[in-house]
Subunit: 297 residues, 2 copies
């Protein structure tokens, strides 16, 4: 089987279906609403949005497959001549109702250019409102297991990459407990396209079991107004990361992407308090964990 764009696209569509089904089952209340959209320059997508669930307050699982002339900005950034591009992927951000359940993000993507270059990218990272060491260890152990099946060096490399990528420089904080991040993976890495695609598939398939288990484990924990206030403050950091730093968001907005699909990552509600100082031990502990290079395993 040739690993071509049609084949990869079909997998990503199926992955979106699988993940949506698993999230609906775990939430037990909310259902995804689908919007199919077309891109002026070529291609389109299926945005699936979930809101007002029992566990999920607002979330999106997006699939897209777009093509057309490569935007000038990207050609310059990649130092490439005029050419056409094709890009497909699945992107997810889930904001839970309870501050005791972590926010999660996952993305898997494939990019190819008319000059024959291609690459895979992706990542998955967890943003607990309060860091729970057990959950962080479970999350990283599971990701390491996925990585190790494909290459012994992947977890260490992609974990460090996530620490750097999901770092909010102006706050001197990581976004959460990190995860894995990788980009521009192609045959120059010493792997075949099939091997790389198998890795990306396994990352994508790891999302539903990981997150539904964290939903189930935490959603019945009790919480109070102080916890919700802290959640709202942590969500504003999420907004800052996505709007100021996230490469995917920038790329989308710069290239006249579909704004509602790009910004489905925004939380339902967020708060900013000037110069907020942590109010209790749990807040202080969480901040102490928002650092690079923590070995969670």
């Amino acid at each position: 089987m040739e690993i071509n764009k049609e084949y990869i696209t079909t997998f990503f569509k199926g992955l979106q279906d699988e993940i949506c089904t698993a999230l609906e089952e775990a939430d037990t209340l909310a259902k995804f609403q689908e919007e199919v959209w077309e891109r002026d320059g070529g291609g389109g997508g299926r945005s699936r949005i979930i809101a007002e669930g029992k566990i999920i307050e607002k979330g999106g699982v997006g699939f897209s497959a777009v093509h057309g002339e490569t935007p000038e900005k990207i050609l310059n950034a990649l130092k490439l001549d005029k050419s056409d591009f094709f890009a497909t992927g699945v992107s997810i951000v889930i904001h839970p109702r309870s501050p005791m359940v972590p926010i999660i993000h996952m993305n898997v993507r494939y990019f190819e250019m008319s000059n024959g270059t291609w690459w895979f990218g992706g990542g998955i990272d967890l943003t607990p409102h309060y860091v729970d060491e057990t959950d962080a260890k479970y999350f990283h152990t599971t990701l390491k297991h996925v990585c190790d099946q494909h290459d012994d060096s992947y977890y260490a490399k992609f974990k460090a990459w996530a620490d750097d990528y999901f770092f909010i420089k102006h706050r001197n904080e990581t976004r959460g407990v990190g995860g894995i991040f990788f980009d521009r993976l192609n045959e120059s890495s010493g792997k075949t396209k099939e091997e790389l695609f198998n890795f990306v598939k396994d990352v994508g398939r790891s999302f539903a079991p990981i997150y539904t288990s964290l939903m189930k484990k935490n959603h019945e924990l009790s919480y109070n107004d102080t916890d919700v206030n802290w959640q709202m403050l942590r969500r504003s950091r999420y907004v800052e990361f996505n709007l100021v730093l996230d490469a995917g968001t920038k790329f989308g907005l710069d290239t006249n992407g579909r704004t509602e699909s790009i910004l489905m990552s925004m939380p339902p509600m967020a708060k900013w308090v000037y110069n907020y100082q942590p109010q209790n031990e749990r807040e202080i502990k969480t901040l102490s964990y928002l650092k690079k290079n923590i070995n969670w395993i």
Copy 2:
């Protein structure tokens, strides 16, 4: 009197005092809290924050005067050789409690380089949650009056500049009803430094009477949960503008500015709803006014 940086700095400090006093008087309840800070590279500022007032929910009036080596990024953008810079200014964003009172922003600034170049910049723009034509007309008429005292061409030019600057491209919306915006004003404009400074002074001094009159006129109007919900949605657009597009915010975050002072423009609380559609005539009317090139006068 030579219009040098000490003289300009002294005026801006006094302007911050005047504006804070006027806002406290109009609010009747809340008082500004001051934080004095120093910048690692040179200089510093006085952040004045107000919160939980009768009319103002969260706001900041910042003064700063910073200097040091010009950051690489700015030298490249301005195509300049290595040099030192000095920058001073007053920046304001006020988020009122009531959705019936508009959000306002004002900035006046002076910049000079060790090579002798200098310029003034600034602007003031109004973001009503619901557009009220009378308020918009009053706002623009007052700004035109300020401009006309200095140059007949200023209002038209700077109003158009504000329409372009305060435009949220990815939403195809202006941020509010605009106002005036100007930058890089120096002797090449045909005015002396003193004339330009007199204009900037008048813009700065116009803020307190304009906004306190809008506070008084509107803060007792009744509103309900639908109005507050709409306010939260409009505030999220404000967040998007500031984090994605605002040049001052970008400059500050890029140059390791004081994050809390830069992000004092963030609203106390904001909401995002996927693909929100206006629910009533007032929301529809407001959206119809978020366009460039409206003659408010």
